[in-house]
């Protein structure tokens, strides 16, 4: 089966997040809520029930005062390629084809009208990137007015997750098409809301396979790593940190085992 129509250019969108730069301010989270019509409730402290397309986690090295270090780790959907390209864990288990791997972009979609809420995908995702709508969303008073028409509001009973702001890609593609350059979408023309919102410049987004894009260089950084890399999910989100303890937290290492980026130094 031909996965990419011959007239479509293949892209592979992904993200590189510099954990040593992230300040944990959560601007990315709020910009995402606003961009993607993510609903809220008056009780949001039960994080397993809270809807977040990107979560910023706080990590500490556990050393005692004053040798303590803190890092913040923003985590969107990893848009995994899967062990076999095009088969991320969540896509394989979906009985309704409600989540799919988009070959021309490498983005893992979520189609709310197809989803019937079995939550197999949530069980299959090792990153907790997916959340379930246990309640109907409510925008009190006239808050419905701030909803964006570019992203549909979800209902009770469906799973939702980060889409790498796919609607922004659609808008950029439309614009390019109208301007007579259907396949040329500049790096600046398509950026996710969180990337744009990050006030410290920790997030970089682009085509991982395009040598002209910043992410292409960054993903090859010596200190780049991915979360739970050894599960072979092949995430499209990379992280950079020069701190060994952060690398250690990104995967399950045995005692004495050294993360790849530091293996050389210790040998």
């Amino acid at each position: 089966m031909q996965k990419i129509p011959s007239h479509t250019k293949a892209r592979h969108f992904g993200m590189v997040i510099d954990v040593d730069k992230c300040t944990g301010c959560a601007s990315c989270m709020v910009a995402c809520y606003s961009e993607n019509n993510v609903s809220f409730r008056d009780e949001e402290s039960a994080k397993m029930l809270s809807l977040n397309w990107i979560m910023v986690y706080k990590l500490t090295n556990g050393e005692s005062f004053p040798d303590t270090e803190v890092c913040y780790l923003p985590q969107p959907c990893m848009h995994c390629d899967g062990k076999e390209f095009g088969k991320p864990p969540c896509v394989s288990v979906c009985p309704a084809v409600a989540t799919d791997f988009d070959w021309p972009t490498g983005i893992v979609s979520q189609i709310y009208t197809r989803c019937f809420g079995c939550r197999y995908c949530m069980a299959a995702c090792p990153y907790h990137a997916r959340q379930f709508n246990w309640w109907d969303p409510v925008w009190p008073a006239d808050m419905e007015k701030y909803l964006s028409p570019n992203v549909s509001a979800r209902t009770r009973g469906v799973v939702e997750k980060c889409s790498f702001c796919y609607h922004r890609f659609q808008l950029a593609r439309q614009k390019a098409y109208h301007e007579g350059r259907p396949e040329e979408i500049g790096e600046d023309e398509y950026q996710t809301a969180c990337t744009q919102a990050c006030p410290s410049g920790a997030i970089t987004f682009g085509d991982l396979d395009n040598p002209e894009h910043e992410v292409y260089k960054l993903k090859q950084d010596r200190y780049a790593f991915r979360l739970l890399e050894r599960l072979n999910t092949n995430p499209s989100v990379y992280y950079i940190s020069k701190r060994k303890w952060v690398h250690r937290m990104a995967d399950n290492y045995l005692e004495g085992e050294v993360p790849a980026a530091f293996a050389e130094n210790e040998a």
Partner: protein, 759 residues
């Protein structure tokens, strides 16, 4: 046929199995799924032409430029404006959430009049005309009875045209009581007055160009000051930039700093002076600046022949080893940071503004300013700037006899009194003065509150609330039903910043004389009015000399005249940078000596002597008693929690992690060592009790906080706004108590002693 039990069960079982084998249940599940997704109450946002508009955010004093995505008459998204000189595209979570304040249940949608008990939150809508008449009648009565000086204004800022209009109103009406809420600016303004002779001017730090930032407790990346400006500076950090953070807790700023110096709280002055001693000892100070623009660096004899100790002799007492004893920071680290700082290309030392509490430690601030002077970076790129606010060229205020008599009266908050002659605003002293006064002799009988929420933000909130209950007449101009608006008799709601025009003065702490201008991007959503228009209306309805002091059609007309030649550029670009307001080094100092005064000759001291004029480390005995299970409670700031006059919108509350807030219970951070001593574990419920109040909290063990301290985030525990905001956690201000500086009256308490016991 007889239906026995066996037969019934077979039939029922057969039915179930039969159904399961048929497509009916699957078809039904599918149909239910489709039906549930077509519920008519799921909103389908209306599409339409997209327009991007630009304005300036005024939810905090940061003054960031924003671009606003609108679809028809709806605002759907806010983003940072790339070419705004303050934030250069950055924006904080509060800015991104500001659409949740434009729409939503927290807004005051129409003028309101109190119907229930004060503070009960029972109001009835009242028309604009009736509301304004009621206010003018009350103020008129007071004035007629010769008590115009008992009217006070509490404002979040004293710069910009809106505060100007309120000051002008009080002058024409006859009251000296314009009071700004306490902030980090108090200490900086005072230090600039003492060392540089500049009265009521902006003190800012050019973080954009600085290469070595030595921060004494500023939450640069924790949402204090002008967050957009600081984030923008941080995002441009290269290999040659360094940030050093002095703070007893590993804050977000400390976590991102190159070096973290966890000095004991309240000892920062000793640390700064010790660094000064290292710099002077090694001859790394800027000799040109010291010999040409400094006074009191060396010992000197005054005109009366009295010998005075100079700055050099003073700091020689603060050797690194002595400072190490006081601060807990290793002497070699003190030395190395001091040397790096002085040798850096563009060093800057900062304090205040960004701290989690609005404390004003004059000694520390003078010591930090002195560090900047030592390296000669006053009014230099990448250094510390002091510059005046733009003024307005407007006709004189007309004052009748009542106005002149009223403005001559002493201030209700004791600022400028014999006790505190050099302080400008002392709101922290007002609640106590009101509570101690007899009912027929209250210092304030009518109160107007604009851009401020003192009932929430002042220390000892309970006492503040009691004091407000005693004030006979309160008017709030808030857009939102905040704690202070809830206490008001009349609410005259202002527009949200996306609905109205307003000038935005230079953000606190920003090292550049920028002036912003916010313009409406949508029509007013409710029956609100620009506060500028409201105060002009009130003045005009009062008539006489008050009315004729306000000869403008409306606020728009006033803005055009007040901003005169700047108006066009401001409305067109959204900002201007008044570089010419920064004076060169040769005429930077307006002290008697015409120099930067390391020895601040004009400093007022409690005993009026001159022994204490030099900045020094003086131990601050914070309130509360030091018992067995005592911890020192400090407030901390988080970029995810808005702690100022405007509360946390639901989006920001959603970002708070479950080790900070869980089911409306707030966590306090303590070191595991402290926890062991107090027999507490992670997640335990505990009671924290201070002389000011008591609260139930939960325990979060955090290695990154100094043992003996307990840190509580500022900005939660609201009691007003909406159910999405109120009732979450504890208001740390309710547990704190101010400790007035003996000579300046401002709060100097960095924390409070508290008993922490397992619940």
């Amino acid at each position: 046929m007889k239906i026995d039990r066996r037969c019934f069960l077979s039939l029922a079982g057969g039915l179930v199995v039969g159904h399961l084998l048929s497509p009916v249940p699957w078809k039904m599940t599918d149909d239910i799924a489709i039906w549930s997704q077509n519920w008519p109450w799921t909103p389908v946002p209306e599409d339409g032409p997209v327009r991007w508009k630009e304005t300036v955010c005024t939810l905090c004093p940061g003054g960031c430029g924003v671009r606003v995505r609108t679809i028809r008459d709806r605002v759907v998204k806010i983003e940072g404006k790339e070419d705004h000189p303050v934030n250069r595209g950055s924006l904080c979570p509060l800015g991104y959430s500001s659409i949740q304040y434009l729409y939503g249940p927290s807004r005051v949608t129409t003028p309101m009049k109190r119907t229930g008990e004060r503070g009960s939150g029972e109001f009835e809508p009242i028309g604009w005309d009736a509301a304004i008449t009621e206010v003018t009648r009350k103020l008129g009565e007071l004035r007629q009875n010769g008590k115009s000086h008992k009217t006070a204004v509490i404002a979040g800022d004293d710069r910009g045209t809106v505060p100007y209009l309120f000051k002008r109103f009080l002058e024409a009406y006859g009251s000296p009581n314009f009071i700004r809420t306490p902030s980090g600016r108090d200490a900086h303004e005072t230090a600039a007055y003492l060392a540089q002779g500049k009265s009521a001017q902006n003190v800012g730090f050019d973080l954009e160009n600085a290469k070595y930032i030595l921060s004494f407790g500023c939450g640069l990346l924790d949402g204090c000051g002008a967050p957009g400006y600081q984030f923008a500076a941080y995002s441009n950090f290269g290999e040659d930039h360094k940030l050093v953070q002095v703070e007893p807790r590993l804050s977000n700023t400390a976590a991102r700093a190159e070096k973290w110096l966890p000095a004991k709280p309240g000892t920062e002055a000793a640390l700064a002076l010790s660094m000064a001693s290292v710099i002077i000892d090694r001859g790394l100070h800027n000799r040109n600046f010291i010999s040409n623009h400094a006074f009191g660096f060396e010992d000197f004899t005054d005109d009366n022949g009295n010998m005075h100790k100079g700055f050099r002799s003073l700091v020689s007492e603060y050797t690194p080893s002595k400072a190490a004893e006081i601060t807990g920071i290793d002497a070699r680290r003190i030395e190395s940071v001091a040397v790096e700082f002085a040798r850096s290309d563009k060093p800057v030392a900062i304090c205040g503004y960004y701290e989690s509490r609005n404390t004003a430690d004059i000694d520390k601030t003078l010591a930090v300013h002195a560090l900047n002077a030592l390296v000669g970076n006053i009014n230099q790129a990448g250094g510390m700037f002091v510059f005046p606010e733009p003024d307005y060229d407007l006709p004189e205020v007309q004052k009748d006899n009542a106005a002149s008599a009223g403005t001559e009266k002493p201030r209700a908050d004791l600022a400028g009194s014999d006790q505190y002659p050099q302080s400008r605003y002392l709101l922290n002293l007002l609640p106590k003065r009101i509570l101690e006064a007899r009912n027929n002799d209250l210092p304030v009988e009518a109160l107007l509150v604009v851009d401020a929420n003192p009932v929430y933000t002042l220390e000892e909130s309970e006492k503040v609330q009691e004091a407000f209950e005693k004030i006979p007449f309160i008017v709030s101009f808030s857009s939102f039903m905040d704690e202070t608006a809830k206490m008001a008799d009349i609410i005259l709601p202002d527009h949200h910043f996306l609905e109205g025009s307003r000038d935005v003065p230079a953000p606190a702490g920003v090292g550049m004389p920028v002036e912003g201008f916010s313009v409406p991007v949508v029509d007013p959503q409710y029956d609100t009015r620009n506060v500028g228009d409201t105060i002009i209306d009130i003045a005009q309805e009062m008539g006489g000399s008050i009315g004729s002091s306000f000869p403008w059609d409306d606020y728009g007309d006033f803005l055009e005249k007040a901003l005169s030649d700047r108006y066009r550029d401001l409305t067109r670009n959204g900002y201007i940078v008044n570089r010419d307001r920064v004076s060169g080094i040769s005429d930077a100092f307006e002290t008697d000596s015409g120099s930067y005064e390391f020895y601040p000759t004009r400093r007022h001291t409690a005993d009026n002597g001159d022994t204490d004029k030099l900045p020094a480390y003086r131990e601050i005995e914070i309130p509360g008693s030091n018992t067995n299970n005592a911890v020192a409670l400090v407030a901390y700031q988080s970029p995810r929690i808005a702690s100022g006059a405007v509360a946390n919108p639901p989006f920001m509350t959603k970002t708070i992690d479950s080790k900070t807030l869980k089911e409306d219970k707030l966590f306090i951070q303590i070191n595991p060592e402290t926890a062991r001593n107090l027999n507490l574990k992670q997640g335990d419920e505990a009671v924290i009790e201070t002389p000011a109040g008591k609260a139930t909290v939960r325990i979060d063990l955090f290695e990154g906080i100094m043992p003996g301290l307990a840190a509580m985030p500022a900005g939660l525990g609201h009691t007003a706004y909406s159910r999405f905001i109120a009732g979450k956690g504890v208001n740390v201000n309710a547990l704190l108590r101010a400790l007035p500086d003996p000579a300046y009256g401002m709060n100097t308490a960095w924390g409070i002693r508290a008993q922490l016991t397992k619940a």
